[in-house]
């Protein structure tokens, strides 16, 4: 029995010692693994088969490792003597992506934007102080920031990049524990900006709206970014800049209305970039020669529509065919109302919209040629103007050329509608002729020095009616148009009567002048004769 007891003790003791030893080995092993000293990272055991980078978000290895920036080991070192290319590094190492980093967790697509967490500034911005001294691009961004709206409003580097703005110890300032995130990846940039710009309380003092982020998530750009992780789409910094954000009212800002078309064209005119989206790239070129483009770019009239006026800015998307009327109607409100009275507007999706007659990016100056081209027309089928599919919508290609945007492109020659069109055409033409004749008579009288203010007032009335008549074409109703053309003729006739009266008066003035001058010449000749006579007498006497 005793022997059994001793045996049992020995076995228990051996097992205990083995357990303790095993535990020690495991603890030691765990410690050395945590300190990263002992075990060389087994290449094959990592999830992606690569060594994870210690900090977050860097894929440009040599930016830090070439000169030991932020105390990074200098490469190429002894053990990586031949590795001097970023791509070579990435063969074995893997940058720490946002998905891996805890810092990005609340910035991932789909989540609510929150500001970057970092130690509050004690009125310091040590990032700026150091960067100003670093030279090249690093100094440039510091200088750009101080001049930017953010710099002026005291929104510091840490508010976008994280980190501690109070310490001048670079290592402490730019460590992950201080919330440092480095250059924010494009995927999460809108959320970082939205962190502040969606905050009603925060934006109130700047009188800025807070719906940009919400709009952006609904835009074509935002949807592609969020749903497809497509980082080629426009993000906040592409339009507003990053370190050099300026107010929209600053004429040097990229978002200043006059600069917007070129800003959008930066991407949308890039054939390589747009190829994968299947979007044309000639919009900017076409827009430049349109009435809108000329007004904005040549006359610098900021009331003219930019890309953003029709497509939206933060909520950028192409307006659909139905929406075009609403988009144009934002500015052309009166015309939109008139269009609302027309039969066109009642047909629905398949009806001609603004673009059918006026184009989109190539909106041109309207004229009488838009009624008809006075040429024999070929027989028309439904598919002459409508798409040959179930939608039966207007065929955009049919109206691609300006000269094809006419009433008789769709309407049959000799039809009741075309008779109405002809009536409108004749009424407008006649009104225009009367207006021009009156204008010419007034100009003639004015050039002769006559005061024609009263005639000009009447002519302005005629002009207002003429503009109304032209706009009334959108109703497609002859009586509405003739109501205004009749007004044109009435006002123009009054103005012309006044102008003709002035011309007659001018004739009288000139005729009277000739008579007066003739009388004066006769007097001068007579007096000169008398003078010569008495002068001669004087000479004789002396």
């Amino acid at each position: 029995m005793r022997t059994n007891k001793i045996d049992a003790r020995i076995v228990f003791g051996i097992i205990s010692v083995l357990i303790v030893l095993l535990s020690l080995v495991m603890i030691t092993s765990a410690q050395s693994s945590a300190s990263g000293e002992a075990t060389p990272a087994p290449k094959a055991t990592a999830t992606a088969g690569k060594i994870k980078h210690g900090t977050i978000g860097f894929s440009n290895c040599l930016k830090c490792h070439l000169d030991g920036f932020r105390e990074a080991p200098i490469m190429p070192g002894d053990d990586h003597a031949t590795y001097n290319d970023n791509d070579v590094c990435l063969d074995c190492h893997e940058p720490n992506t946002p998905e891996d980093g805890t810092v990005w967790k609340n910035l991932l697509p789909g989540s609510t934007p929150v500001p970057i967490q970092h130690p509050a500034s004690n009125g310091l911005n040590t990032c700026y102080d150091c960067h100003l001294e670093l030279g090249d691009q690093l100094t440039d961004i510091a200088q750009m920031w101080i001049e930017s709206v953010h710099g002026k409003a005291g929104i510091g580097c840490a508010d976008c990049h994280g980190g501690d703005p109070n310490t001048d110890e670079m290592k402490l300032a730019m460590q992950t524990e201080s919330g440092y995130i480095g250059v924010p990846p494009r995927l999460v940039t809108p959320q970082i900006c939205g962190g502040c710009h969606s905050d009603v309380e925060r934006m109130r003092s700047y009188k800025l709206p807070t719906d940009q982020y919400a709009k952006y998530t609904q835009s074509v750009h935002g949807k592609k970014l969020r749903q497809n992780n497509d980082t080629r789409v426009a993000i906040c910094t592409d339009c507003h800049g990053s370190h050099n954000v300026k107010k929209g009212s600053d004429s040097t800002a990229p978002i200043y209305p006059v600069n917007v078309p070129e800003l959008c064209a930066g991407c949308h005119a890039d054939t390589t970039l747009m190829e994968s989206y299947g979007i044309p790239t000639n919009q900017y070129e076409v827009y430049k020669s349109s009435v809108h483009g000329k007004l904005l770019l040549e006359e610098q009239d900021v009331r003219a529509p930019t890309c953003a006026s029709c497509h939206g800015s933060h909520d950028a998307k192409p307006p659909t065919s139905d929406e075009v009327v609403n988009v144009c109607g934002k500015c052309h409100t009166a015309t939109e109302d008139l269009y609302g009275q027309s039969l066109h507007s009642r047909i629905g999706d398949n009806a001609p919209k603004c673009w059918t007659c006026h184009g989109t990016h190539d909106v041109f100056k309207t004229g009488e040629e838009m009624f008809m081209n006075h040429k024999p027309q070929e027989d028309k089928a439904c598919t002459s103007c409508h798409l040959d599919n179930k939608s039966f919508r207007m065929d955009k290609a049919r109206f691609a050329q300006k000269e094809d945007r006419r009433c008789d492109t769709c309407h049959h020659e000799g039809s009741r509608i075309m008779r109405q069109v002809t009536g409108i055409y004749v009424a407008l033409n006649d009104a225009n002729t009367v207006y021009e004749e009156t204008e010419s008579a007034i100009k003639k009288a004015s050039a002769l020095g006559m005061i024609v203010t009263d005639a000009e007032i009447k002519l302005r009335e005629a002009r207002t009616s003429l503009i109304s008549a032209r706009a009334a074409v959108h109703t497609t109703k002859l009586p509405v148009v003739t109501k205004f053309t009749d007004e044109v003729e009435t006002s123009a006739e009054v103005a012309k009567t006044i102008a003709d009266g002035k011309l007659q008066e001018n004739f009288f003035r000139r005729f009277s002048m000739i008579i007066a001058v003739v009388i004066i010449i006769v007097i001068i000749i007579t007096l000169s004769y008398l003078k010569r006579k008495i002068d001669r007498e004087l000479e004789k006497e002396s």
Binding site: G449, I451, T453, M513, I521, L530, I534, S542
Partner: protein, 360 residues
């Protein structure tokens, strides 16, 4: 009895003249005024007389305009519009007044140049010259104050830039500007002030100056452009000169008819217009003062303000003192090359800056 006989043998007109003459001795006065003699070599080109005619034209047309004009910002523009478009021959009166003003300045300047190049300003005519220069300044003052009265955009803004120049005068310029405008900007106070100056103060001043100018000329007679003048007047010497009346006066009348003809042609072919009513909130492009201030306005663009105002002030002072500065008794241009060259150069500079100001 003799008196009765006299009445019988003379015409009614003659009797009336006699009636006046017996009481007021008018024949003597007229004789003293008209029956004087001028040097045969004199070439006045009737310039002074023409300027006098233009002044008289301005008095007549100005008086007619004053019957309709109303000098308040609310009514001025409409009243001028009424004169120009509704009043019978109102356009003619207003156009002649405007053209007459321009011609008066032109003839004043040409008259001054004639006197300068013929050296008629020299002793003993220093005072006549000085009064003449003052007359030119008053004439320009008429132009400046009259330009505002139509109260249209051109009037308002030309006066704005014109009066700005006064503000550049060192020491007291600000006061002068406020004094001219009757406030900080051109407003109702300026209009009534300008109207008062234009129709009361300046006419009285110019009438007095013209009176003195003519009296001095009458006392000294016309200068001889060929011979240096003697300090003491030679008196009325019939044999050495030609009679002022009727020979000279007839020539003057012919020149007056020519100017009247010119005025009628200018007023008929180029009647003066009216721009939009003055709007202090809308500055039209290319605001310029009247042509006779253009050279000064253009100079002011290139030199410091103080300098640009001091320069013409010194020039005007020099002009007044010219007879005392230029003591060379010679009158023929070839014998006074320095002065003639200086005069031509000054003229070229003024014309060049005026043209430059016009086209810029």
């Amino acid at each position: 009895m003799e008196y009765q006989q006299n009445l019988d043998t003379t015409s009614r007109g003659q009797r009336l003249i006699n009636w006046i003459d017996e009481r007021y001795r008018m024949r003597e006065l007229m004789g003293a005024m008209l029956h004087v003699y001028i040097p045969k070599e004199s070439k006045t080109y009737y310039l002074g007389g023409i300027t006098l005619l233009l002044f008289l034209v301005q008095v007549v047309t100005g008086s007619l305009l004053a019957l309709y004009y109303r000098g308040t910002p609310d009514e001025a523009y409409d009243s001028v519009m009424f004169i120009t478009s509704t009043v019978q021959f109102g356009w003619l009166i207003r156009s002649i007044h405007a053209w007459g003003a321009n011609l008066m300045v032109i003839f004043c300047i040409i008259h001054l140049l004639r006197v300068f190049f013929q050296a008629a300003y020299k002793a003993p005519r220093e005072l006549t010259w000085g009064v003449g220069v003052a007359l030119l300044l008053v004439t320009m003052g008429f132009g400046f104050t009259g330009y505002l009265l139509p109260w249209d955009q051109r009037a308002y803004w030309a006066t704005t830039v014109g009066s700005e120049m006064a503000g550049a005068v060192p020491i007291g310029g600000e006061f002068l500007l406020r004094f001219l405008r009757g406030g900080e900007t051109i407003a109702a106070a300026t209009l009534s002030r300008f109207y008062g100056i234009h129709t009361l103060i300046l006419p009285m001043t110019i009438a007095a100056l013209i009176g003195i100018h003519l009296l001095l000329i009458h006392q000294q007679g016309l200068a001889n452009p060929r011979q240096p003048a003697k300090t003491a007047p030679e008196g009325n010497l019939p044999k050495k000169g030609k009679p002022f009346f009727p020979n000279y006066v007839l020539g003057e009348v012919v020149s007056w008819y020519m100017i009247i003809g010119l005025l009628i042609i200018l007023a008929s072919l180029f009647p003066v217009g009216l721009e939009a009513k003055a709007n202090p909130l809308e500055t039209p492009p290319h605001v310029k003062p009247e042509w006779y201030f253009l050279s000064l306005y253009q100079i002011l663009k290139f030199v410091p303000r103080v300098m640009g105002v001091l320069l013409p002030m010194v020039a005007i002072l020099m002009l007044f003192l010219l007879p005392f500065i230029d003591r060379n008794p010679e009158v023929l241009p070839r014998k006074r090359p320095a002065m003639v060259t200086l005069g031509i150069m000054a003229l070229i500079v003024i014309i060049a800056f005026t043209v430059w100001g016009k086209i810029s």
